[in-house]
Amino acid sequence: MRNLIAKLALATAVLGSGLGVAAADTANIWVRADGSNFMPRIVDAYNKAHKDQIKLDIIPNAEIIPKYGAAAAGGTAPDALSLDLIYTPSFAAAGQLEDITDWAKSLPYFASLSPAHVKTGTYKDHIYGLPFSADASVLIWNKKLFKQAGLDPEKGPTNWAEIAADAEKVNALGGNIKGFYFSGNCGGCNIFTFMPLIWASGGDILSEDGSKATLDSPQLRGAIDLYRSMVKKDLVPAGAQTDTGANFFAAFAAGNIGISPSGAFAIGALNTQYPNVDYGVTFLPGKDGGWSSFAGGDNFVVTKGTKKLAVVKEFLDFAYSLEGQTILAKYGSLPVRGDIAKDALRELDPRYQIAAEAMAKGKTPYSVVFNDLINSANGPWTQMVNEVFFGDDVDGAIANAQETMQSIIDQAPQK
């Protein structure tokens, strides 16, 4: 009899678990390697607390776009994707993404979501992407070197003249110490950290809707002169000229650089990997003060026609909860919900608050050909920044970039 009961119990358990598995749904999402720290943590937390599950794939940064394109063509695309936000307009224009306008607008906290992300996630008045992870650009300085140079280690530069003057003083320490660092052959790095100097001074390189290149502004010319003067005075290491971004963060982390524009990611990276570097964080200033920031990070997009929409929405809703935002913040992304950002960051390094403030006002240029214009190592923006910072013909380089950018915009399939 006991045997029979045991068998019945076993049968019930097997049947029950079988039914349970059948009822749960699994959605597949992809993330670029930049998210490899926070994404598995938030997926784990979600999977533990929900019946429906997420299966996560981490794809190398450079491969995620071609791989997604190939998968979409072959009908094997993931249900959703955490996508570098600048690509959202071109993905939407290609008809690849699910229109999530109604759902997005029904979220009670919709108005508090990072405006720059929502703007790039919107194409022809429809929403195709919502903010997922975020990174703002900030200026970081080495407090130890500031002190050695006779500067106030607690006060970072607040305008361009102060950047140049502080960098020069640090540089005067000599040896391997240099005043300033930037990656001189990296389009992505410079849109992220050089562009805010121009925005903060009232200039821009693209019109609001991305249909016009506007490189011929005095603000751009002024910011170029600031960098050129520092290069000329030898305040910048020689390797900056050919740095395609590999050294973007590493140069400052080595402890020999006075000031460097960077991203909020640097706070976590410095704290965990370079605890000996004592640094300050401030905004990227305009010529005479004020400040601005690039809004980077990822938008969450859904592949058109996916059958797992409900799971994907449930996951995103979890990511937007205080628990989700706290996990993201703890493992390297700024919160994307402005209304609970402070709470999510409460237990973290207070320097994150500056980055979060920068994020709230952050800007992202809007273009369906952003990759061609800005990120491409051989595109007009990368070529221009390298020429104007280190070359001889500044005006020619700007004019050339203006013309090339406009022709790429004009030839784009959809605007």
Binding site: I65, A94, P237, A238, T242, N375, N378
Partner: protein, 317 residues
């Protein structure tokens, strides 16, 4: 004297290259089938990894084929667009310039090395291994290694020269065209010369020793022997090494992508780099396919020209 060598050479080549006699036997048909069966795996590989992709590339080149979204047939429009693509033609011009320089450089290093290691002498095997070793490193790994060596701040060359007091200021080799270009040439020669050396060495070893000895007895100096015996008998080997070097250089990509990213200021964009750029940065797969087809035609034409130039002269067979 020269005629004597020629006669001797003719006899030798004639014996070594005489066509095999075909015997018609009962069951030859069956054997042919067995033969076909043996080569079937190789044929299948060529079909799957060459013929079918080639056909697909040709088909794609006739389409407006974005990375994402619908594709549409546009006939020869991509090819007309190539005619106006000045950056492609500039890239092709640079690729040609690079090919000529790097091929000359490789042969200039590999030939003397091949002569040096051809004959057994103390430590020959050690030398052979030493010279050949870089060839086994993948191009991408070698490029990464060199991009570190060439780094002005944290690498080897510039910091070492600075620390030894040879230069007053660290010099960024990759910042301007000429030093950057020659740095790449140095890296490629380091990487490829050993491989070319082995090919040339086998060619040298196949030259009959008695020909050289006869020439020495007749009083021919080293230069005369090289010109009248070595070079003519090396034609086939030279053709092979030359075609491999030229084809490899026309398709150069890894080192320019990894070390220079086409820089400084897009002056080192190669043809394949531009195809990569159009396909996977601008996401224009159809246009990239058309560019690939054009490059393929150029490559086949160049190889045919080389084979024709290095064909066996009359009277040697």
């Amino acid at each position: 004297m020269r005629r004597k060598y020629r006669q001797a050479m003719t006899t030798i080549t004639a014996t070594t290259t005489a066509p095999p006699r075909v015997r018609k036997l009962v069951g030859a048909g069956r054997r042919q089938w067995i033969g076909l069966l043996y080569v079937a795996p190789a044929v299948a590989l060529v079909m799957v990894f060459f013929v079918i992709p080639l056909g697909m590339t040709a088909w794609m080149s006739l389409h407006n084929w974005p990375l994402m979204g619908e594709h549409a047939f546009i006939g020869l429009d991509n090819y007309w667009a190539i005619l106006r693509d000045t950056r492609f033609w500039n890239a092709l011009k640079f690729t040609g310039y690079y090919t000529v320089i790097v091929t000359i450089a490789i042969f200039a290093i590999a030939f003397p090395l091949a002569i040096f290691i051809e004959k057994p002498r103390p430590f020959t095997n050690l030398y052979r291994t030493f010279f050949f070793m870089p060839a086994v490193v993948g191009f991408a790994s070698a490029s990464l290694l060199w991009s570190w060596l060439l780094n002005v701040d944290s690498g080897l060359f510039s910091p070492a020269a600075y620390d030894l007091g040879l230069i007053d200021k660290k010099f960024n080799l990759l910042a301007t065209f000429q030093p950057a270009f020659w740095s790449i040439i140095a890296m490629v020669v380091w990487k490829v010369a050993g491989f070319t050396m082995i090919i040339l060495m086998t060619g040298l070893q196949s030259i009959p020793q008695d020909l050289q000895e006869a020439a020495v007895i007749d009083g021919a100096g080293p230069f005369a022997r090289f010109r009248a015996i070595t070079l003519p008998l090396m034609r086939r080997t030279l053709a092979l090494a030359l075609i491999l070097s030229v084809a490899g250089s026309i398709l150069a990509f890894d080192q320019f992508y990894i070390i220079l990213r086409g820089g400084p200021r897009n002056q080192t964009l190669t043809a394949v780099y531009w195809i990569f750029n159009q396909s996977f940065v601008s996401f224009k797969l159809g246009y990239g396919a058309a560019l690939s087809m054009v490059l393929l035609v150029i490559l086949v034409a160049l190889s045919l020209i080389q084979l024709w130039l290095l064909r066996k002269p009359e009277g040697l067979d």
